[in-house]
């Protein structure tokens, strides 16, 4: 049954997430720099630093620290930020919706642009429109999104002055009335995803329209419109779904750069600051959160598969 499949997949996520925590934890453990010194300042006496390190549990052996963190995670206690001393959970609750909103909008944008363009490009194979779309697709795959963000800022905020240079910094929310704040970040983060989805849709459509069952549909006297939307699209979207799911993960990662450029108070910028401050609980928490989100999205994609493809649906039964 489907429940069983979902449950099994959720259980399979546990070792992977444990691995993510282990990797991140080890990296932080060997990182240079001392959080206690960071908090106390350069003038702190060695005794004070050692005392604070002991209080923070940094003097314990690796395995103890790791075990303590895992034990905390199980009870949803992700520790307090070294810098603000606020619980990680509270800090992330402010920021995660922002990042999710940004990544979600970017995915929607990339699907809305990528899928139709991919279909048109495939349908008009060998035409100038196809050549142009293919070229632009490859171009936007190649432009690093942080540079795209800077160029957009240069054009629309600096030269033309029509859009603001800041995203959701303090006071600017994700409400629709603030659309002019989030239009540039969304394009920045979504452009390459749109290009990747367009390329995937195109090649997938080209593959599908050469299939025998499309010829069967044409032999029935079916119209080109219905051949595309009834017979081809559903089959072509199966691989596109995978890519869209993977893109969501890349978008979450890309948020680190985009949020930095647009000063958006989201998870990515939070993570970046935490890394520079050696704020281990925050780095760990964000890594875990992003890996968890990514795994859940992949699971959703697999479930979506079953809706699209009856062959996979019958495997789950």
């Amino acid at each position: 049954m489907v429940h069983k499949f979902i449950l099994r997949r959720l259980l399979m996520m546990i070792p992977v997430l444990l691995g993510v925590v282990l990797v991140t934890f080890t990296l932080l453990y060997i990182s240079p720099g001392c959080p206690a010194r960071n908090r106390l300042g350069e003038q702190a006496t060695p005794e004070a630093i050692i005392q604070l390190r002991a209080e923070m549990g940094l003097e314990d052996p690796f395995i103890v620290q790791f075990g303590r963190y895992i034990a905390g995670v199980v009870t949803l206690d992700f520790g307090n930020s070294f810098r603000t001393d606020q619980p990680f959970f509270d800090e992330i609750l402010i920021r995660f919706p922002t990042t999710l909103h940004l990544a979600g909008m970017a995915v929607v944008l990339s699907l809305l642009i990528g899928i139709p363009l991919g279909i048109i490009s495939a349908m008009k194979q060998y035409s100038w429109a196809d050549a142009g779309a293919t070229f632009l697709g490859l171009l936007f795959v190649s432009i690093p999104n942080f540079w795209l963000g800077m160029i957009l800022l240069l054009i629309f905020a600096v030269e033309l002055g029509v859009l603001p240079s800041l995203g959701w910094s303090a006071g600017v929310g994700t409400e629709f009335s603030n659309w002019h704040h989030w239009i540039l970040p969304t394009i920045t983060i979504g452009a390459s995803a749109a290009a990747i989805i367009m390329r995937m849709t195109r090649s997938s459509m080209l593959e599908v329209v050469r299939q025998d069952y499309i010829r069967t549909a044409r032999a029935k006297g079916q119209t080109p419109f219905k051949i595309i939307f009834k017979h081809s699209l559903k089959n072509a979207l199966i691989p596109v779904t995978t890519v869209a799911g993977l893109q969501f993960g890349f978008l979450l990662g890309g948020a680190i750069l985009t949020e930095t450029i647009f000063s958006i108070n989201g998870v990515g910028r939070f993570m970046m600051q935490a890394i520079l401050n050696r704020d281990s609980p925050v780095v760990l928490g964000v890594a875990l959160l992003l890996a968890f989100t990514f795994s859940i999205v992949n699971l959703l994609v697999d479930i979506l598969y079953a809706f699209i493809d009856p062959r996979i649906r019958s495997q789950y039964r």
Binding site: V16, G19, V23, S142, I151, L153, L154, L257, L276, A287
Partner: protein, 352 residues
């Protein structure tokens, strides 16, 4: 899992085992090259990459330096933030007492008066070096792990693939940032940070290929004449799964360049005054809102251009390795000529 299965993208033809090495392999290489050459985008990519190589070689000629003053760090403070085409006041007066103005390099100068063109030229060396090393190392590790996992299966396969799942569960850039932050800054750190995230791609491709190849007759035949596992993998299996690995490596060069630039942009890559393109963008960002567009535009164009070239080349290689994907290229010219001939005949028939 949910990754796109590389096998699906390569047709049987591309995976067809070469049972006779040597001349046949050369023939096949020529065949691939012939198809590659016919693809204008791919050739354009290759040419642009070669030009980038020329730029890297001629960096010392474009911006010569000394032992203590490397070519990329020659500061000229009066010439700070000069945009391309503008001149700057040298502070000197000519014989008539008028200030002397001088022009700067075609890309302008940065906030320390350093020539942007010279820095970009020197930066191309770092970019190409990092990309090459990242791909070489991650490809070696990934292919080895994938081959072991695919060839032996069982426990080793399980362990390797679970580790790979862990790496894949973290967004690449996040992994790179965490690694870069944990190690001392430097070239080796960037290479490790970027390289680790690239291993899973090679491992998965190789594993999938090895799985399909290991039970084929020619491998069995080699085994029956006493080839050991290492020789079997190295001589008989890996040469037959090179096509998708080469494509992945080409795209991997592009990915490595993008990731390395992102790390430097975030300030956890190479330390200043290294002319890493991403680090130059980080400088550019500081002066961007003041309208100093040239510091942002040129390094970015350089990054985008080389990534674009590599991707064009990668696409071209994939098509060249697997002609079926291109659906037997269609000749527009002859098709149109025929169409015109038919229409002309029809028109002629009507007149009569």
């Amino acid at each position: 899992m949910t990754n796109v299965n590389p096998q699906k993208q390569m047709s049987k033809e591309a995976m067809a085992p070469e049972k006779f090495a040597g001349t046949k392999r050369l023939d096949r290489f020529m065949e691939v090259w012939r198809r590659f050459r016919r693809n204008p985008l791919a050739v354009a990519g290759l040419v642009m990459i070669l030009l980038m190589g020329v730029l890297a070689i001629s960096a010392d000629w474009i911006a010569p330096g000394t032992e203590f003053d490397p070519g990329y760090d020659i500061q000229n403070l009066p010439a700070r933030l000069v945009r391309p085409g503008d001149t700057f006041n040298t502070g000197f007066l000519d014989d008539y007492g008028n200030p002397i103005y001088e022009s700067v390099g075609i890309f302008g100068t940065d906030h320390l008066g350093r020539d942007m063109l010279g820095r970009i030229a020197h930066g191309s060396r770092i970019t190409l070096l990092v990309a090459f090393l990242v791909v070489t190392i991650s490809m070696t590790l990934g292919v080895t792990l994938g081959a072991i996992a695919g060839f032996y299966g069982g426990v080793s396969d399980n362990i390797i693939m679970r580790v790979i799942d862990v790496i894949l569960a973290m967004p690449t850039i996040l992994l790179a940032i965490t690694i870069a932050a944990a190690l001392d800054p430097g070239l080796h750190t960037i290479i490790i940070a970027v390289g680790v995230g690239a291993i899973p791609g090679y491992a998965r491709i190789t594993r999938a290929q090895v799985l399909t190849l290991r039970d084929q007759e020619f491998v069995e035949a080699a085994r029956s004449v006493g080839a050991n596992d290492f020789r079997l993998i190295r001589k008989h299996i890996l040469p037959n799964c090179m096509a998708p690995i080469i494509v992945e490596a080409t795209m991997g060069l592009a990915g490595a360049i993008a990731s390395a630039a992102a790390l430097s942009f975030l300030g956890i890559g190479l330390a200043p005054p290294t002319p890493e393109w991403g680090a130059m963008l980080a400088d550019g960002r500081r002066f961007m809102l003041a309208g100093e567009w040239h510091m942002t535009v040129f390094p970015g164009v350089a990054i985008a251009m080389i990534i674009f070239s590599l991707n064009m080349m990668g696409d071209g290689l994939r098509d060249a390795f697997d002609p079926r994907l291109r659906s037997a290229g269609f000749s527009k010219k002859r098709f149109k000529r025929q169409l015109q001939a038919i229409e002309a005949k029809k028109a002629g028939a009507k007149e009569v």
